[in-house]
Amino acid sequence: MRHHKLALCAPHYLEWFLAQTERTITRYHMFEPEERILVAVSGGKDSLALWDVLLRLGYPADGLYINLGIDGEGEYSHRSLEKIEAFMATRPEARLHVVDVAATYGATIPQVARRKLRGRGKPCAVCGLVKRHEMNRIAQEHGYAVLATGHNLDDEVAVLLSNVLHWQVGYLARQAPVLEEREGLGRKVKPLCRFYERETAAYALIRGLDYIYDECPFAEGNLTNFYKELLSRLETESPGAKMQFYLSFLQARKDGLFGQAAQEVTLHPCPTCGQPTSVPGPCAFCRLW
């Protein structure tokens, strides 16, 4: 780890990873030991690493898997669930909620994306919308105090770069390790936000977590991966650049740089599902089906 000027053997790396996660949870006041946590798991390295770490740290953390129906030749969703089931087989304390989008709403993500303007070309926007809605729904229905996602530092700086390039100050104001609870929206946290992507991959590898190695078939050529590559080139030349970019941003945000944009929009309950929406009337999720 050039940015930390640190090289650790496998057992010490695992210890370091756990301690760093705990430190991040405490630093950003993410949750208390007794609070119930819902972890969004995709079968990928970050979410399985996060679930594994939280269980090892003794937190009451259950999983949520959303079956998006991205199958076809590669059987992506099907294989993702298999990875999660394999993870759970050795952890009897782990409990999983599964939402099957097609069974619940009548169409898979690729199917619904094909017939909506939002999903034309690529279903990623529809996918994000469905996941956010369902994660919040399950967390609220089952009384979880907090929803935890496996976003790592590379995810965060890729989004940050995108938002800076387009000066999306509203999005910048809302990008944080913790999104506090507000009317109808549960608290969201990102305990791995200070780990480089290679660090979460290394953790998964050393721990022997069998995760889905292939990328989502719709992720190929997407802008996020392009920004990640740009930032990795920068990091190679200037170790620590990603971390500095992220932490300076968080400091600027804390100092009120995006103060005016941070003023929250008024939310209205959707008349169909009850979840909050920024415009009165049915929310974007309910208008999908």
């Binding site: 050039r2 090289a7 496998a10 995709s42 079968g43 990928g44 390295k45 970050d46 979410s47 991205i70 992506y76 993702s80 590379d154 992507e197 290679r198 991959a201 290394a202 590898l205 050393i206 995760y211 889905i212 190695y213 292939d214 990328e215 989502c216 719709f218 992720a219 991966n225 990640k228 590559e229 990795s232 080139r233 990091e235 190679t236």
Partner: protein, 62 residues
Amino acid sequence: MRVTYRDKTWEIAGRMTARQAVEKVGLIPETVLVVRQGQLLTEDTLLETTDEIRLVAVVSGG
């Protein structure tokens, strides 16, 4: 040594560090982990000419 990454394989000659091997095959060191016989290597590990190396992409999943 033989270096594999996803569906690609390279044969490269000479002794070098793990980081140099990654650069030699044209990948960005930050984007891969270097694995030999199932063991993760640090980037300054000196590789032997007979080694079989697997590069693991750090971006994966969805």
